[in-house]
Structure formats: C-alpha cells, structure tokens
Amino acid sequence: MKNPAPKLSNILRLSVQILFFLFIAAIALNQKLEEMRMTITWLPTSCLHAICPFGGVESLYQLTTAGVFVQKIEQSAIVLMIIAFVLAIIAGPLFCGWICPLGSFQEWLGKLGGKLFKRKFNTFIPNNIDRYLRFLRYGVLILVLIATAVSAKLVFADYDPYHALFRFYSGEVAISALIVLGIVIVASLFVERPFCKYACPYGALLGIFNFFSLFRIRRSVSKCIDCKACDQSCPMNITVSSCKTVRDHQCISCLKCTSESACPVADTVVLSMTKL
C-alpha cells in the first residue's frame, strides 16, 4: 500500500527545521573557516553560544546582579531568549518544535528508530518510570542556573550536546559534552527526542509557557472519533485524546497531532485561542 503524500503542515515544519539547522551548521562551519582565515563573508562568524537562547537565561543572574554577561555569552543570546519567550507566549514552545536544531536532529534520528523498531519505538521506557523521569529536566535547569550564577562561567557548555553536535570537530568541545551527545544519539533511536523529554533545561523553562500561552492545542470532544491517532503521533507521548486543551508542560507545539496532520477529522484538533 502506497504511503499517503506528506501533508502540507509536515512539509512546512520540516522546511523550517531544515532552514534553522543548516543556518546554525553554516555559522559553526564559518567559525572553523575563520580559524583558517577563509570565512564566507556573508555569513556570521558568531560563537555558537552567542546564538543559543539558553545562554541568555544563564546570563540573567549575572546581568542583573553584577551587570556583566557570563563568559562567552553575548547580547544576541539575550535577544534570542526574549524572542523565544515571545513565541512561547503566543503558541507555547514553538522554539522546541520548530527551531531547535538539536530537537530536529533527534527527531530525524527517531525516524530511523521508527524504521528499526516499528511500533516498539518510543515505548521502551515504562510509563510509571517515564512519568517521573520527565521532571528530571527541571532538576537540570535549577542545577545549571545555580552553578552558572555561582561561577559566572558557562558551566553547561561542558555538557551541552547542541554545541558538541555542531563543533565536535573543533577540538574545543569537552569530552563530557561529546559523551552526552553520544548518549543522545543512541537514545534517539529508542525514544523520540530523549534530551528534550528528560534533560533539556531550556525545554523545561519553555514548557511552563504551555500553561498560559495564547494559542493552545484544543480538541473538539463532539467531533473526535477516539481513533487515538493524535496520541500515536505525539513525539512527547502526550495523550491528546484525553484532553480538551493540552496544558502539558512537555508539549512542544509541533502540531503533529492536529487535524492538519495526524487527526483524520477536520477542525477537531487545532491550535486555537478559544475553546472549541
């Protein structure tokens, strides 16, 4: 049986993800070329930490108390942090579901995992353990923020898989970060978006916006046929079929569960400002 043609919403999202992934990869490469005095002039040569919005979060304490940025964090990181917050206020963690290159990378590896393990993919961790593990990322967030505030140093950089992914060839990446990246790569074959679910401190922060964003995933109970297609499509294992409004801290606003994508009934699962 032929696979159905990819839906427009999936193509759009994939395009945006590829765009940001390639942009970050190009900047990282240009940094390397700068060392060899061969930069691509129309591309920025920013340090990756300068274009990571989490750096802005890490720097907030130092900025507000000592009036300085944490080492290696620049003003652009603060701007991007604010931009991501604006997006999150509008429609939840859009940064996670549409922009974050590490999230996209895990998702693409997950497709390989889906082909390898088929229905078993994304079900390896029992629900009773998974439920508590999902709060681990808040522990990571608190730990990172405290450690950064105390040391005025970018502590997370030594464990950051995002930086390791794009600069593994630079010789500047800590071994610990490479190990974390390796674990994320392997885990992505078994679990969808493992770093996002269990360890991402920035995802933990943005996830809180799911409780008060303007637009949220809403399900029309009257139109829903309980096919559970939304549950199966959700990369974060949220049971959309049991919600009228998704207020889960793990939702990444990817819209995979909506009627544009997985849901077979029109206008049943939508991103909306008002109740259905």
Binding site: L12, S15, Q31, Q62, S76, I83, L87, L94, I99, A152
Partner: protein, 251 residues
C-alpha cells in the same frame, strides 16, 4: 480563533527574523562580546605597599575566572574581563602588530607558535596561566603549558608571585628557537620588553655604543624603560623593541 501551520511558519519567521533585524537596527544585537567588568569604573585601588605608602594597583576583583577563558575569547575581551592591560597581553605573547592585540583569539596562539617541542604547549591554556598569575586568581595550570619570555618578564615585574610560581615560570618559559633536544634557546635568553630598562640592556653585556647605534640617539639614563623612552622620543615602540631584541640576541 484558530491558526494553521502556515500561520505558525509566518509567526516564527517574522518574530525571529524581525526581532533580529529590529534589535540590530537599534544596536541591541551583538553576537560579539560586549563584556564589561564591574570594576571598569574602578580600574585601580589604593593599597599599602611594603614601605607603608599608598600605591595604586589594578583592581582584579571581577567575577570572571581564568578557567572560563575560551579559545574564542579575543585578547581585548580577556583584557576587559580581567582588567589586565591589553598591551601586557599583546607584548607578553609577542604579538608584533598592535591592531592584532584587539582581535587575536586565544586559540590562534596555536597557529602562531608552531613547531614547538613535543612537551611544550603555547595556546589557550597559556593565556589562562598568564591571567591567573597576573591577577592572582586561582587556576591549575598543566605542566605542558609554557609562556613566552616576554610574558614571563611582565609577570615577574608586575605580578605578586610566590617562590613556587616563579620557579614554575623559570622552568616553563618558551623562547624562540627552543629546540626539542636541548629545551633551551639557541638564539639568546634575553627578552626585550617595554618594561626593560636601558640599565638592564647594559647588564646583559650590550655596550652603550651598540645601544646608541641601534636607537640612533644618545643612551638615556639607565632607569629609563624602553616603552617610556619610545613615548618620550616619539619613536615607534615595536620597531625599537625589535631592533633591540636583535641586538640582545647576540648576547
């Protein structure tokens, strides 16, 4: 009111792209560091010296730590973070071009100091060690980290070093021409910096007439430092240092 994926794409691109464009136009977007030391307005503090009089010393009380220095930090950034004069970094690491002092990244030292003996490293780690010794901030330097001769001279003149630190510097000084087999310089062991006085040149065995021939002028008083002399006489400091170094290398 509901929105679909296309609207989400537009929102993402407009907010991200628009946010960057607007902040760039307002000069709020900077992907290069604009680090500011909180002590920048208090660049020196008064302290009692050994003789009981008040002297002004740089204020190194910044929140940054030497182990936080990255290879991508430029000398200008490091100078700002730690309140260490940019000139001391530039001259210390023997960077001949003054404009390069601003933009040189710590990791680029690896490309400048090449063909080193196998157990000698002169890179970002060396900058951390230099800053640590200069500011007195703690840092665990490795045994393979070396510092150029001028950097060692500057530290000995300006930093408060313990006997242990001085011994470390003496055994971890890199001079140009250091060979793998001997570990010692085969060009010379005298390093000319701005803080070297004319008396020091004479003490090295260089005759007054040779100095006068090199500087094209009568030798000033022995206590005059080369930097001060260049400033007073309006001479190009780097050219002067280079010429005197060539002379010193013969001794």
């Amino acid at each position: 009111m509901k929105i679909n994926s296309l609207v989400v794409v537009i929102i993402v691109l407009v907010v991200v792209g628009g946010g960057i464009i607007i902040t760039n136009a307002l000069d709020l977007w900077s992907a290069k560091p604009i680090l500011q030391s909180p002590a920048a307005s208090i660049s020196s503090v008064n302290t009692d010296n050994a003789s009981g009089s008040i002297e002004s010393v740089p204020n190194f009380n910044t929140p940054y730590k030497p182990d936080g220095i990255r290879g991508t930090n430029t000398f200008a950034e490091i100078s700002l973070m730690f309140n260490v004069p940019l000139m001391d970094l530039g001259i210390g690491f023997d960077i001949t071009s003054e404009p390069d002092w601003q933009n040189l990244k710590a990791r680029e030292l690896k490309t400048i100091y090449t063909n080193l003996p196998p157990d000698v490293k002169l890179e970002t780690e060396s900058v951390r060690a230099f800053i640590s010794l200069y500011t007195g901030k703690p840092y665990k330097y490795s045994d393979t980290s070396y510092l150029p001769g001028p950097a060692v001279d500057i530290l000995k003149q300006k930093a408060r070093l313990s006997a242990e630190q001085t011994a470390f510097l003496d055994s971890h000084t890199y001079n140009a021409g250091m060979t793998a087999s001997t570990g010692t310089s085969n060009i010379g062991i005298h390093t000319v910096t701005g803080e070297v006085s004319f008396q020091t040149l004479l003490n090295w065995g260089i005759s007054a007439s040779e100095i006068e021939k090199t500087i094209g002028d009568k030798i000033p008083s022995g206590t005059t430092m080369i930097r001060a002399y260049a400033d007073q006489e309006g001479k190009d400091f780097l050219v002067l240092v280079s010429a005197l170094q060539e002379l010193a290398n013969k001794y």
